[in-house]
Subunit: 588 residues, 2 copies
């Protein structure tokens, strides 16, 4: 037996006991007569004591142990004279009687501490050392606990976890598929699922009533920061439900998760239409940890002789509370540069200081007198002491997005994105279709299986592009702190309506049948009304821990080139494998 | 709202309530004045009543509903005059006030009943209709519940569920990999995992201490009956453990699962060495629901002038209790044909009837007199009335396996494989290596990461093939009712020993480094002693339900050609996809 206790378990009450511990050498401190050694495992750290006086040979051996050596010891628990209140085991230490080196360790390429000196690449290459660090280990433990709570809650609610297949069929719609050549079917390929969307709908047609799955999904996309080629979804679907039932069920799930992992309770989540979110926050995923909504100033700012505003489709601003005087000229210049960066793309930034004494001072004093500025301030609900930041642009939507980005940046700069505060929000009534000018066609805003709102079904027959743009989908997103955590919709369950939607998306009947014939066929055999939602599980983990990167919640993430640095994958395969798969490579 | 209750929910106490139900039309019975309709959902069936007298128009509409139409109704619950005690809702019916057809259905290609008239191919093509059948639906619900219980139990035991990657590296050792071409790394491929073996070991090196995962694995093998290219494992690993700790932990899991799904409790599982299992049952996975062990007769049967026995390496038999007289000549002939089938490969079958009157009669009376036969009977623990069945062959191991097969066949014929009876067994001390004559090399019996038993480590340096054949691994299988449910081992955690094992398996140092360098490297940074086990989750589901086929516990299985008949995958992909992946097909 390697241990009677873990390294996080011993307390004062255990004093006097003979125990066995095993773990890693965190650090050794040599004080001449005594050597102290911190022994670490997943559960904690226990201080070991070796004494020259009592056992010189053992003490000498202990002094030769390097960092990250794996050892097993037997010893006696005793009360510490200098207790460590920051450590759960800090009241005791173990006086070692026997020491066994279970495995040696080379010197690790970076320190195994909460704050490490290892860079990203090194940490990924030696991920097994990185995971020994408590923050990463705790992230993975959190993830496991969160998954278990998801399953417990949904299990209680009669959801059945059904495993859908990984070797499925490639469909060109949506993102790019990873494909898998079939040896038994020469020239043919499976695809890895981008999501189990069609299978979960099939399960509703199959009468499973309530389905969920925590499942890996795959997208072969160029990897931007914080995207992974394989990622995990909490995938859910329900039959015989309307939107209200779905929102309530998954609001319940979300509340359960926060309560049982972070101990936080929530009132009912607010709801906001897509249109309002775009209008007020320039984003379909507003961060509600702070206010600062966008206010339109067209009626007060246009046609007053300032050409920048006059030529704009939208003049809009935000009111930064109490920052009229504490924002320096340099701050303003920096912000101006910030909004002019290509990622934001604004032409410039107009400011108005609504000073504490009630006076107003702006960068457009030449064009607007104080009474005009006062009218702006009034419209923006500004108080003396507030700073107004205003953008203008030729495209209403673009300018709103830019103003929304400026709002977020001010939130960041002013520390308004308070860690530990969570602001969930349902965003509702998304557009059904998105027009793309480049390809001159509509794309599904959510996906091709999303139902229009009942009152918009008839309008799908229209040939008027604007009517089609205005169609609203029975779709919803769950947003927390400005991050889209989940999204879903009520689905089409009528074959003809589904075919009509495919048509609007530019599918021929033949293409629709070839790719989704099985689903269209299933709709002919008694498909029930149904809808669902999918949560980004990696992102949920990160957001709940107030972190931006999903990577540290994934045990073995890939880098931006899609490579696993630790195992060195992907890699060439043997010629015999290529031949068996009826493949030749054209790579040089 | 589509429903206030499910179709399995209403009871006598609900009589008088106005309710809404939704579901599928199972069957309609028209009695002139009344129409009765069974409405079905996942939760049960409720009888609906339509009356010509009360609402002729509604009743007429109900009569036009076809099987599997999806409807929603509102109505009043009332007590039934002729109650159906076989149905949970059988005390009540719902008198319908309003009827809404939610979706029509074509006539299904097979009946949606517990016993269907649909053949395998048809059922797979219309799997969404097949899953509507209660037995299939209940299998999937059982699977979901079993998975949840696995997670609850292991979660309680401090196991962390860690998701390991699906896009990993191809390794020629073991079964054939499915591979995934990388678009971003031209000419390179990922492989889908055959198991997360190396990753779970890495997680032990990473200090995760206790890992599990219910995870899909992939093997591109020619599909025999009841093999699937994608299958599910309960994959587990623990650090700082010996075999005893692992057996206890997973015996605990198994007991928990039987208790919390089937309500069955078990005493501690028996244990048997691999050698004993082979000797007594001719199999490393004996079915212990019945006895009939193999008894060796070499000393009594050889060198008595019967050339078949004299030339044999093994003469061995089983004693079939009480079947001396009830087994006819025709039965014996049939059995003889059965053992001579190429799948079994025996040359013939010798029988001895130990009649109730104490006389003995055999098919080898010419060579053995009654006293000799009596000695056989004594050695085989036979009583008057028993039948002895004896095989002989040139190869000890083959003959034992044949006798083991005969034993199983007798178990089947005599109904000794009692449904609902479960006999778990740990099989221990497997050989480390298996010699293959064709390729003239050793293969790992479990896998290359399995540790030899501590007392056999030194013998790995031997060059004597027999010494190497006799090496015992610290490996174990969990067998239930003759089916291997799980298998695992204590792992090598020393770099040099791992390299030595690779060497015995015919790897060059370069090959070992290229394929498993990351693991060998990890062993240099403080790898703890560790071991684990993996359960075949599909098979566990089947065995616990007394079924042979795993297919009915998989929502969307593939057929023997690896095809998904419902979605029609695999399929050709677009030329543009091939080009992006730097691939050309050589298939005709």
């Amino acid at each position: 037996m390697y241990r009677t206790h873990s390294c996080g378990e011993l307390r004062l009450a255990d004093a006097g006991k003979t125990v066995k511990l095993s773990g890693w050498v965190q650090v050794a401190r040599d004080f001449g007569a005594m050597t102290f050694l911190d022994l670490r495992d997943r559960y904690g750290i226990t201080q070991l004591v070796f004494s020259m006086e009592e056992n010189a040979e053992l003490c000498e051996r202990a002094r030769k142990l390097g960092r990250e050596f794996v050892i097993g010891i037997e010893g006696t628990v005793r009360e510490r004279s200098n207790k460590n209140p920051n450590r759960a085991t800090g009241d005791v230490e173990v006086v070692v009687n026997t020491l066994q080196i279970l495995n040696a360790s080379k010197v690790p390429p970076f320190t195994i501490e909460d704050e490490t000196d290892g860079g990203d690449d090194l940490r990924m290459r030696y991920r097994y050392l990185d995971i020994r660090r408590a923050p990463v280990q705790q992230n993975l433990i959190f993830r496991s606990k969160l998954a278990l709570e998801v399953r417990k809650y949904l299990g209680e609610q009669n959801f059945v976890e059904v495993e859908t297949p990984f070797l499925i069929k490639s469909t060109p719609e949506g993102a790019r598929d990873f494909v898998v050549p079939s040896r038994m079917n020469p020239g043919q390929f499976y695809a890895l699922p981008q999501s189990p969307q069609t299978f979960k709908q099939i399960l509703m047609v199959a009468g499973m009533d309530r389905y969920f799955q925590i499942v890996k999904c795959f997208r072969d996309e160029d990897l931007r920061a914080d995207r992974q080629p394989e990622f995990t979804q909490i995938d859910c679907e329900m039959a015989f439900v309307d939107r209200e039932a779905i929102l309530n069920t998954f609001e319940g799930l979300t509340k359960h998760l926060f309560k049982h992992t972070l101990g936080l309770e929530f009132a009912d989540f607010p709801r906001m239409s897509y249109d309002d979110a775009m209008r007020l926050y320039g984003s379909d995923k507003p961060d509600l940890r702070f206010g600062m909504p966008i206010v339109e100033l067209n009626d007060l700012a246009k046609d007053k002789g300032f050409v920048v505003f006059d030529s704009a489709e939208l003049v809009a601003g935000i009111c930064v509370s109490g920052r009229a005087e504490s924002t320096t000229r340099k701050d303003i210049d920096e912000l101006t540069d910030w909004v002019k960066r290509p990622q934001i793309g604004a032409k410039g930034l107009v400011y108005v200081r609504y000073n504490s004494d009630g006076s107003l001072k702006s960068s457009v004093d030449k064009f607007f007198d104080e009474s005009q500025l006062k009218a702006w301030a009034a419209k923006m609900d500004a108080q003396p002491g507030d700073l107004l930041l205003i953008l203008a642009g030729e495209d209403d939507e673009k300018t709103r997005k830019q103003t929304g980005e400026l709002r977020l940046e001010m939130g960041r700069r002013l520390g308004l994105m308070t860690p530990g505060v969570f602001k969930p929000l349902w965003v509702l009534d998304f557009p059904l279709l998105e027009w793309d000018d480049d390809t001159a066609r509509f794309y599904a805003m959510h996906h091709p299986f999303t139902s229009p709102k009942p009152e918009d079904v008839a309008k799908m027959a229209s040939n008027d592009r604007q009517v089609l743009k205005d169609l609203r989908a029975d779709a919803y997103d769950l947003v927390i702190n400005g991050v889209e955590i989940g999204g879903g919709s009520i689905r089409i369950f009528d074959r003809d309506l589904q075919m009509k939607n495919f048509e609007l998306l530019g599918f021929t009947h033949e293409e629709a049948e070839a790719q989704f014939g099985f689903l269209l066929g299933a709709f002919e055999f008694g498909a029930p009304p149904h809808g669902g939602i999918a949560f980004g599980f990696d992102r949920l983990c990160a957001v709940m821990n107030g972190q931006n990167s999903i990577r540290d919640f994934i045990a073995f993430p890939k880098n931006n080139q899609g490579r696993d640095m630790m195992i060195d994958a992907p890699s060439p395969i043997a010629d015999a494998q290529m031949k068996e798969l009826f493949l030749e490579s054209t790579a040089e």
